[in-house]
Amino acid sequence: MQVIEIKKRVYERNDERAEVLRDDLKRSKTFMMNLMSSPGSGKTTLVVDMIKRLKSQCSIGVIEADLDSDVDALTVEKTGVKVIQLHSGGMCHLDAGMARVGLEALGSENLDLVILENIGNLICPAAYDLGQAVNVMILSVPEGDDKPLKYPSMFSKVDVLIVSKIDTMSVFDFDIERLEAHVRKLNPLIQIFPLSAKLGDRMEVWCDYLLNEVRVWQ
């Protein structure tokens, strides 16, 4: 009997592909935002309102990833930007290879901003680098301010947290300060943007921040 050491991280090949993709995106001056959240947090509503506000200032494309269906892609398509629907075939996350397929189908080299709507799930997408410039997650008010305690790996990995549906805060027992305290323990440098995409409330603060990040990337 003989033991042969391998010592390889399982995510290593994905991380390598993601680095190559990030370099390619940097060269084509395309900023990719990886948007993650649980189902029903308002990803598509947010994306539609962002497009309306930003499309006169930069060229935008959207990659919609779902297990099945194209309902979100059809909703986003009405804004007039190019949309690609990716089906993960039952997988609960995207990887860097699938992100590249989506970007190529979109023709991303001519775009300033690509919004990738990841599969609605707070666990698996946290483990996969897609080559993005920024990782953004949405937590909607109805989900509760204790979610960082339940999904620490997602909250500790993202650069930006959007707290959506703040217009419903009075209905739910949601304390934004308590949320911030939980999140900052896991991720002291995170940027937090509370907003309501439905009412357009505080959307300009988030969109100004993102547009600035796109310009810095370029």
Binding site: M1, Q2, K7, R9, R13, S153, K185, P188
Partner: protein
């Protein structure tokens, strides 16, 4: 719940490793799974039993070593178990920390006959 994709990647990697070195008699595959990796070891075992059937690892068994979750105090650098995070640092009582180990998912080694 991304264990299926992970098991497929692991088997693919180990097959490539073995083929490169002309190893044919793999008996056991050893993985290291961190407590904080969001991976469920029992799911990995169940998926492995199925996915290996179409591979050169068909006759192998799987051995999983669990790496405990350890966090490090952001203030004084003390390392302590993740399970004690609510109590804060045992040395300075600061409750800010980062993960020191336990998030790993590693193909550790193979045992051959």
């Amino acid at each position: 719940m991304h264990e299926l994709g992970i098991v497929m990647e692991i088997i693919d990697r180990v097959e490539a490793f073995a083929k490169d070195r002309e190893i044919k008699n793999v008996k056991t595959l050893v993985l290291e799974i961190g407590e904080l990796s969001s991976i469920v070891p029992s799911y990995i075992e169940e998926m492995y039993a199925v996915v290996k059937m179409d591979s050169m690892l068909d006759d192998t068994s799987l051995s999983i070593e669990i790496i405990p979750g350890v966090i490090k105090c952001r203030d004084c650098g003390e390392r302590y178990p993740f399970s004690h995070r609510e109590e804060g640092c045992p040395t300075c009582s600061n409750d800010l920390w980062f993960v020191f180990s336990g998030a790993e998912l590693t193909i550790k080694e193979i045992v051959i006959e």
